[in-house]
């Protein structure tokens, strides 16, 4: 179990690095899927199989497929990767990376100093327990999530319209 955790953790970090440094969008997406599956294995290792399954189905499945679809629709062509390489010069990424590293350092030091001594035994928390929580005391949160999804649906269908359908909106007005 511990081995699975550390190994898949390492895979997740490496794959994620591949995502942010990649130049080809499809490759980066594949890296991202690998990273997500690795995190799902971490979940299994930690004893949260429900979350791990969701991670694979919803994240690596649905959301990533959405990304792939969009990248395919845009059909970026050969020049895109070249463009990425031009944008990814050292002076662009060094500064932000140092900033992120500093933030990471602060977080790690804080975690280290606030040693809780808690150890994850890998006891399985079943979907039943999660469901009882969600549809018991958390029911209002589920409702809110439903509303959020509806709002996202409406927003996406509004924002995602083609420009030709919106051109009528900019005419009119007195003088």
């Amino acid at each position: 179990m511990e081995l699975a955790f550390y190994l898949s953790g390492l895979v997740a970090v490496l794959a994620t690095l591949g995502v942010v440094t990649g130049t080809n969008a499809v490759h980066a997406l594949l890296y991202l899927i690998v990273s997500l599956i690795a995190v799902a294995i971490v979940f299994f290792a930690l004893g949260a199989p429900f979350a791990g399954a969701l991670e694979i189905i919803v994240y690596a499945g649905a959301i990533m497929v959405l990304f792939v679809f969009v990248v395919m629709i845009l059909n970026l062509g050969q020049g895109a990767a070249e463009q990425e390489r031009i944008w990814l010069k050292a002076q662009t990424w060094v500064g932000p990376s140092i900033l992120a590293a500093v933030l990471l350092g602060v977080l790690v030091i804080t975690l280290w100093r606030g040693n809780t001594g808690l150890v994850i035994e890998g006891e399985t928390l079943t979907a039943k327990a999660v469901g009882a929580t969600l549809f018991g005391p958390w029911i209002i949160v589920v409702e809110l999530a439903a509303m959020l999804l509806l709002a996202a649906l409406v927003t996406a269908s509004h924002v995602g319209r083609l420009p030709s359908a919106t051109s009528g909106e900019h005419s009119g007005g007195d003088q």
Binding site: E2, V13, V39, I63, L99, A101, E123, A145, A156
Partner: protein, 102 residues
């Protein structure tokens, strides 16, 4: 070995978060920006799971479910914006839409 210390799980989450954050800051292509955001959201979910399993409470997983919901909503709206950006400017460069200085 006998179990995983909670700090290790949280540090993994922090590393993923930092990588996503760095990506968000230095990528200009909006596809990569959105992917970095997904990474950051995912790392937040990981942190929830770690804490939830450490205390052996199901709330961590419930919260992860909400994070996934948020990620789905964010991805759909973000991708719609991305399509608009590409339709109007023929580019995915987020700096191209700085004309309003908003």
């Amino acid at each position: 070995m006998n179990g995983i210390p909670m700090e290790h799980g949280l540090i993994l989450a922090a590393i993923l978060f930092a990588i996503g954050l760095a990506g968000l800051m230095f990528r200009r292509n909006m596809v990569f920006v959105l992917m970095s955001l997904e990474i950051m959201l995912n790392s937040a979910g990981l942190a929830f799971i770690v804490a939830g399993t450490a205390w052996e409470q199901p709330e961590g997983q419930a919260m992860f479910l909400l994070v996934i919901t948020l990620a789905a909503a964010e991805a759909s709206v973000g991708l719609a914006l991305l399509i608009q950006l590409y339709q109007r400017f023929r580019t995915l460069d987020t700096d191209a839409v700085s004309g309003m200085r908003g």
